[in-house]
């Protein structure tokens, strides 16, 4: 995906990682964007009423937490690793730890193992208190171009 990679080059030049989300329609619709104001790369999903999955609690839809953890992993791989292709997701396992309240969700990701073709990434999401995560995920991404690989973006 050359548009995203050229956006990445611009974002690096400006030092503003938030530019990455502009190239992804789904990230814009979901209000998911990376930020690096604190020196650490974080991904934020801004709360809006369409994220609700349970109106009684109320709580954010589990699917949207999985989606934002996946985006956090992708933004991490693009920004923090020397990637020449857009990472393609192979699979993701999400653990739901607490119900997510109707406020912003923040996530960070880290590479557990970097292989030549495959990367294993761990991501964690929380709300106001980082020591009380709402969901965690492990995901595999192909990071070498492969015409047959499934796309993440």
């Amino acid at each position: 995906m050359s548009a995203l990679l050229s956006r990445l080059a611009e974002a690096r030049k400006e030092g503003n990682v938030a530019r990455l989300a502009e190239a992804i329609p789904y990230a814009r619709w979901m209000q998911i964007a990376p930020e690096n104001g604190t020196g650490e790369l974080l991904t934020r999903m801004r709360f809006h009423p369409e994220l609700i999955g349970n109106t009684f609690l109320p709580a954010i839809h589990g699917g949207t937490l999985g989606a934002m953890l996946e985006m956090a992993a992708i933004f991490h791989l693009l920004w923090e690793t020397e990637t020449e292709t857009v990472p393609k997701i192979v699979n993701i396992t999400v653990d739901y730890l607490r119900s997510a309240r109707p406020v912003d969700v923040i996530a960070c990701a880290k590479v557990t193992k970097q292989g030549r073709r495959m990367v294993n990434v761990f991501a964690e999401a929380w709300q106001e208190d980082r020591s009380r995560p709402v969901a965690t995920a492990n995901a595999h991404f192909l990071v070498k171009s492969d015409a047959d690989a499934p796309p993440s973006l």
Binding site: M1, N54, F56, G62, P150
Partner: protein
């Protein structure tokens, strides 16, 4: 209960009344004991890569979570609240741009505390999946049940 009436009820409980499912435009196309099926129309906002028009992983994750959850609801003798415990998704091939995606979920085992589900997403041929999912759900969690009691149980 008639099939169409049952589908209409599940459409109300699992799409119209759940803001994110409604925002995605999830349409319930099947509901029977242990089985749930939904359809997601392709649209520009859900795309991950604007150059190819391929859907992002997120809408599929949310749809498969919702569909697995609905398959659990079809198994409950009495309505009770439940929540996703974990969800694994394998993205086996790209979704084709412009085509609707169908998800089919099965709740194959239910105990007092946990329900086990699996699901596939495809473009109409279940033997040629786009994504496969396995989800487990914790039963008897906080809140109110998603589905009200039924006189004629599904």
């Amino acid at each position: 209960m008639e099939k169409d009436a049952r589908i209409a009820l599940f459409q109300q409980w699992f799409s119209d009344n759940i803001p994110h499912n409604k925002a995605l435009g999830l349409k319930v196309i099947g509901a029977s004991r242990g089985f749930a099926s939904m359809q997601l129309e392709w649209r520009e906002e859900l795309v991950g890569n604007p150059e190819t028009g391929v859907l992002a992983g997120g809408p599929l994750t949310a749809m498969l979570d919702g569909c697995c959850g609905m398959s659990v609801a079809t198994m409950l003798k009495a309505p009770e609240p439940f929540a996703t415990l974990d969800l694994r998704i394998d993205y086996v091939r790209p979704a084709e741009p412009g085509k609707p995606v169908i998800a089919e979920a099965e709740c194959y085992r239910i105990t007092r505390s946990v329900a086990f589900t699996r699901a596939f997403a495809h473009h109409g041929d279940a033997k040629d999946p786009i994504a496969a999912a396995a989800g487990t759900f914790m039963l008897g969690t906080k809140g109110k049940p998603t589905r009200p009691p039924l006189e004629d149980k599904p």
